[in-house]
């Protein structure tokens, strides 16, 4: 084979070491590959099974959402945020709505805030359930995939009843949400919460306590605290590396400061830490939803609607903690009904940038686990 005589593909820092006794080769993983969760393309430099370098190639689902935003009104933009990180669409909606509310200087009624928090936390659980199942599947435990989906389906059904959609919600509006929640909302949430508590124990038995699973994730894909900070990682990836930062706690938005919840933190920054952080986050989200259910107020769900949303000239920033990390929204308004510029700082993009740091020195199978514990959503990376 003459593989090593090929020129190194673009993006690699150095080619195969001259003193290497084995032939290094390049492997193209993706854009169509079951382990990359979408159209992410990774080019690997491998020595046998060992990963020497990883170069991600992006842009396969680039839809120019930021450019499109400049030609759409503020309200029309909300549905575009659904398509960033499609598993956190409520939180993305919330981010943009908060930026618009800042620009307009309007508030949200009490019930509206509760609806937002509850839906966001339910979606965080939903997103983590999907991640849990997919992680299992990536490691060969296909049963986990279907178990994760079983409980996720119940939450998705609630969303469907609330806003008619199961994935791309387009539900929150500046000043509240587009509709009130139905009467069945609270009882259904209560049922799901009860079910989830048992399910989390079941997951513990199925995957967390499994010796093979622990062997596969402990000490694998270590991301040090310093590296995590310098790459701008956020969310469970950052917390897994031992940094106690959560947008809901450190820069509270909406009404998160009213609820009592903890921010789980990992110690070593390996795959298992990231796993445990997400599992604990689900339990904490359940806690938040339960507290919100107890004090769920009556009253209006949305402040007065405007016939046209024109935001005064200036720049506005808001950030939300999505299931994957910090989503930052930087909005420049020029007084018209459309934003002059809308910039999204997506969590998956920064989290992916650390992949080379985490994967080098481990095996191909570990790379798959690492991608999975980063919980990437590719449309969020490309936008």
């Amino acid at each position: 084979m003459e593989i090593n005589h090929l020129q190194a593909p673009p993006g690699f820092t150095d080619t195969a070491a001259a003193e290497a006794t084995t032939e290094e080769y390049y492997l193209n993983m993706g854009p169509q590959h079951p382990g990359t969760h979408g159209v992410l393309r990774l080019v690997l430099r491998l020595d046998g099974e060992n990963v020497q370098e990883v170069v991600p190639h992006l842009g396969y689902v680039h839809r120019a959402i930021e450019k499109m935003a400049e030609n759409q009104t503020y309200l029309q933009n909300i549905h575009l945020t659904d398509r960033l990180d499609y598993l956190s669409s409520f939180m993305n909606n919330l981010g943009l709505c908060m930026a618009i509310e800042k620009g307009l200087g309007i508030g949200v009624p009490e019930r509206g805030e509760y609806i937002r928090v509850m839906l966001c936390e339910l979606q965080r659980i939903q997103s983590h359930l999907l991640w849990w199942g997919v992680l299992g599947m990536d490691m060969g435990a296909v049963t986990a995939f279907l178990y994760g989906f079983k409980e996720r389906e119940m939450i998705t059904d609630i969303f469907e009843e609330v806003c008619g959609n199961r994935l791309t919600m387009n539900f929150f509006r500046p000043g509240g949400s587009s509709a009130d929640v139905p009467d069945t909302f609270l009882p259904r949430v209560a049922t799901v919460i009860e079910r989830l508590k048992r399910a989390l124990d079941e997951y513990q038995t199925l995957l967390t306590d499994n010796i093979i699973f622990q062997e596969r994730t402990r000490g694998i894909g270590v991301l040090s605290r310093e590296k995590a900070l310098s790459y701008g990682c956020t969310g469970p990836v950052l917390r897994g590396s031992g940094v106690q930062y959560d947008g809901r706690k450190n820069n509270p938005y909406s009404i998160y400061e009213r609820f009592d919840f903890e921010v789980p933190v990992g110690q070593g920054g390996d795959s298992f830490d990231r796993y445990l952080v997400r599992m604990e986050e689900m339990a904490q989200s359940i806690k938040i939803v339960q507290q919100a259910m107890e004090t769920f107020p009556t009253g209006p769900y949305r402040s007065k609607e405007f016939s046209k949303y024109r935001i005064p000239t200036g720049s506005y920033f808001s950030q939300v903690e999505t299931a994957r990390g910090l989503l930052g929204i930087y909005m420049v308004a020029d007084g018209t009904a459309k934003p002059y510029r809308l910039k999204y700082r997506s969590p998956s993009f920064s989290n992916l940038s650390a992949i080379n740091e985490m994967a080098v020195g481990y095996k191909i199978a570990d790379l798959i686990t690492i991608i999975s514990t980063l919980d990437l959503v590719i449309p969020d990376i490309d936008r």
């Binding site: 080769y25 299992g136 435990a141 178990y147 499994n210 199978a365």
Partner: protein, 362 residues
């Protein structure tokens, strides 16, 4: 050997011998036996694929195939037909000879092993004196097919899968061979039929119980090694769908893919039959020491017991696959060389001591 005239000592064999001269009867009986094995090999995967899908579905809280036939019983026939009519593709740059030879080898190997499996007292194509050695030798053939498939596919994923598989099969064969050796040691024969007959008596006379404690350990070791030898989860690193897209089968389609598929399921069946033969008394009915029940059990034909026991073992394989995450390639090697192999050697030595001391249950 003994007075049994192989091939086929059953009623059909006697009929042929009565009507034809000895030399041609020998050949006709051989052809009949091989045809029977061929049909079994062709039908077993149809059942096992359905069983796998049903078992997997119920483990995963769903129903599985339900539409084609009663509870999806004909689903695997439909799937097989679909595979038959698919175009066979060969990637550019693949080596034609190796690429098309490779799928035949594992299927052939599993077919050859089937010829010496004692399905019942008189349901066995031939009984070799060194049956166990034959099994070890022939089942090693399948690794050639997998290596060849990976190498000739001209695909790095295939090559990686094949290399993983090669290392895995060769390593775990050692463990398997040692446990087989233990059974040969305690039963005093290498013929599969004789091994079964050495377990006559009650359930406690099966080798899994007959060697106090040791039999159970050996049984578990054999199960683990068999699962690895079968390339099934949690040891399915050579296919590893999420890592290598499909391992050595990545580039295969249509009938050449279904040959690998067929071989995988026949191999699983063979592993089940061998486990049954070595540890669970083969075709012998389970005698639990209760007069009426024993009589009732004894009335059931041996091959029914054989298939039931085999299906139980296969169910265990499926249970493993749908419960555990996959091991990593280096962990797999560590498990074999640092855990299983030392334990197996100790088990073998203990087995020798048991035999020498006569610590075998009467």
């Amino acid at each position: 050997m003994n007075d049994i005239a192989f091939p086929t000592t059953n009623a059909i064999g006697d009929l042929v011998r009565a009507n034809f001269p000895a030399s041609s009867a020998y050949i006709i009986n051989g052809i009949l036996g091989i045809a029977a094995v061929l049909i079994t090999v062709a039908l077993i995967p149809v059942f096992l694929v359905w069983m796998e899908r049903k078992v997997a579905a119920h483990f995963q809280a769903r129903l599985g195939p339900m539409r084609v036939g009663f509870h999806g019983t004909l689903q695997s026939v439909a799937d097989g037909l679909k595979l038959l009519f698919k175009e066979v593709l060969k990637p550019a740059g693949a080596d034609s000879f190796g690429f098309f030879l490779a799928p035949i080898l594992p299927a052939t190997a599993s077919f050859l092993v089937m010829t010496i499996i004692p399905f019942d007292h008189h349901l066995q194509v031939t009984d070799l004196n060194g049956g166990v050695i034959y099994v070890i030798a022939i089942s090693g053939l399948s690794v050639f097919g997998i290596l060849l498939a990976g190498w000739s596919s001209n695909n790095k994923y295939s090559l990686l899968g094949a290399m993983r598989s090669g290392a895995q099969l060769i390593s775990y064969e050692i463990s398997l061979a040692i446990i087989m050796l233990l059974i040969v040691l305690v039963s005093g024969t290498a013929s599969l039929r004789e091994i079964v007959l050495s377990q006559q008596g009650t359930v406690l006379d099966w080798w899994i119980f007959k060697l106090p404690g040791l039999g159970l350990v050996a049984f578990i070791m054999y199960l683990i090694s068999s699962t690895a030898e079968l390339n099934r989860g949690p040891f399915d690193i050579s296919e590893a769908e999420s890592e290598l897209t499909g391992g050595f089968t990545t580039e295969y389609s249509g009938i050449s893919f279904s040959m690998f598929f067929l071989a995988e399921f026949v191999n699983m069946f063979v592993a089940g039959t061998l486990t049954t033969t070595f540890f669970l008394g083969g075709f012998l009915a389970p005698q639990i020491g209760l007069g009426t029940v024993d009589l009732l059990f004894d009335a059931v034909p041996g091959f029914v017991w054989f298939f039931l026991k085999t299906c139980f073992i296969i169910f265990l394989f499926m249970w493993f696959r749908w419960s555990f995450p996959r091991l990593r390639v280096d962990q797999l090697m560590e498990l074999e060389w640092k855990v299983l192999l030392p334990i197996n050697i100790i088990v073998l030595v203990l087995g020798a001591i048991f035999v020498a001391q006569g610590w075998i249950l009467p």
